[in-house]
Amino acid sequence: MQSIHAHGEAAYPNEGAGLLLGHVVDDSKTVVDILPLDNEWEAGEQYHRYLITAQDMLRGEDEAARRGLDVLGIFHSHPDHPAQPSTMDRDWAMPWYSYVITSVQKSKAVGSRSWRLRDDRTAFDEETIQPGA
């Protein structure tokens, strides 16, 4: 989580994003690494938008496989905004992935929450984040 927070602080005042890498056991995801990626949204709008391109997703999946890991989800930051998913987040979300959102207030990460899109796409359900050992 420290790495995710540091990435969000470094990206501030823009949104930062990347991939969550790890393992799935039964229905529980364990994140063991992250892969920060460039925010490819139009430069002037990155204060409230992020984009990970299909090409970067492919490269990310290849890198995850190289590390013996799976892509479990996405992390991104919300500058000066709560760690809650927006309508935009929902419109672009994939099921199954965990979406960790970090609130970065005045350049400081103040907390993260994880969300998973419902199968019917109507809303996100919050997931419990259990810090690792």
Binding site: E15, A17, W41, H48, R49, Y50, L51, I52, T53, A54, M57, L58, E61, D70, V71, I74, H76, H78, P79, H81, P85, S86, T87, M88, D89, D91, W92, A93, M94, P95, W96, Y97, Y99, D119, D120, R121
Partner: protein
Amino acid sequence: MATIRIPTPLRPYTNSQAEVPVSGATVGAVLSDLTRQYPNLKQHIYNDGGELRAFVNVFLNDEDIRHIRGAETPVQERDRLMIVPSIAGGRPA
């Protein structure tokens, strides 16, 4: 038959299959066949207007179909397609 690679988050809707055999002469027809085989996949690939969702990218033999002929791109017997999501979002303005 051609095959289409399913991204990890959509595999729960294809009985966990990572590669699905599909039939159709065009990319549009192949995607229709895919959602015919797995109807619960449809809402994550198409919006309410029946268009491909903005984050759905389709590659044919490693080339983005947008650079070919989009949904009209011809598909051959042994072609390999991939659905690759782009990911976006962000806080309210």
